[in-house]
Point group: C2
Chain length 205, copies 2
């Protein structure tokens, strides 16, 4: 990610209002405003944002594991980063290794963080079961399998959250369909109108 | 889970209203009303419910991989089921194997299903980082790691969703802290007042 020194950030008036509302500092609030595509609300210290089609806390900006006085932002273009990493690994090793970039994220009403996929290069991130048959021959109507999200969580299990110094996990033997494509959040995300959570909570308002 | 024959279910008036609203059949709607602790809304074919502290679609009732004309419900008490399975495995093999019961679930704005933990017996499902130090010596303020959720997703990766016939996954070498406790959704879930998603979307209403 990108490392930003908070002293270099000048909070706008809107940032100071956001900071006040959610008990965060003004510099972080300013960065959230710059990084987020939408701000929905939040709780103390955590602002719920939309960032590149994904629901994230604080627009993916992380105070943890950045030097003192600094925060870590997502790479400018996560999809491109995954693509470049895969190409570089191929140039240096001659091996076609699939690459995934993941972040810690939250699930509603689940205590704790899980791994979520931000970009995938080199395998099919979603397995579409629609039209296939289940164990009893019934047609599957709506299920898709978020293969990349499951794998991101598997990797996250070995990364930890604080001082483990395990930013990279090498996965072998995962049941993936390899390809030469690159997938960003625009491919991994569901449109808001198709999301049971977003549709429900918006419909209530 | 429990298998229920839909013909044996008599829909109430409320169930018929729910069925009409979300284009599901009345028998399924009746079972959702019986199983769910709260109904929040939904989209076509998918009702967003609270079930045992967890946000689930259709109260965890699955049309897939149940015999024709039947649906599969969660076990009556998932925590007890995990406990009993662990005890039985110990009696039969003399080995202390940890057991987790998982279901497919959804994450807001993520396309596809992931594995989510319903109950855990034999390891610590949540790693609390609060008060620990990160890579740069800064104190970690709010992070907990949903170890069980990450592991549930790892297992779900190998289960698939339709006719794979892989209801059980044996995991070796996972970085777990084993214990002799049993954890249910009341332990794995976050109270609504602490959940950034629930607080935000409710606050908007």
């Amino acid at each position: 990610g990108r490392i930003v020194k908070l002293d270099d950030v000048k909070p706008s008036r809107r940032a100071l209002e956001l900071a006040e509302k959610f008990s965060i500092n003004g510099e972080l609030a300013e960065l959230i405003l710059r990084e987020a595509d939408a701000i929905y609300g939040g709780v103390e210290k955590a602002v719920l944002t939309l960032k590149d089609h994904m629901l994230t806390v604080n627009a993916g900006i992380d105070n943890k594991n950045a030097p003192l006085g600094c925060v870590a932002l997502w790479p400018e273009n996560v999809r491109d980063t995954a693509k470049q990493l895969r190409e570089e690994l191929f140039r240096k090793t001659g091996k076609k290794v699939a690459v995934m970039i993941i972040d810690s994220g939250l699930i509603p009403l689940v205590r704790g963080t899980v791994g979520l996929a931000l970009a995938v290069a080199g395998f099919k991130p979603i397995e579409d079961y629609r039209g296939l048959r289940d164990l009893y021959g019934k047609e599957v109507l709506i299920t898709q399998h978020a293969v990349a999200e499951d794998l991101a969580s598997a990797a996250h299990l070995f990364m930890g959250e604080a001082s483990e110094e395990t930013p990279i996990v090498l996965v072998k033997g995962a049941p993936l369909k390899f390809d030469d494509e690159v997938y960003g959040l625009e491919d991994l995300a569901l449109p808001q109108r198709e999301c049971v959570f977003m549709r429900t909570f918006k419909a209530d308002c």
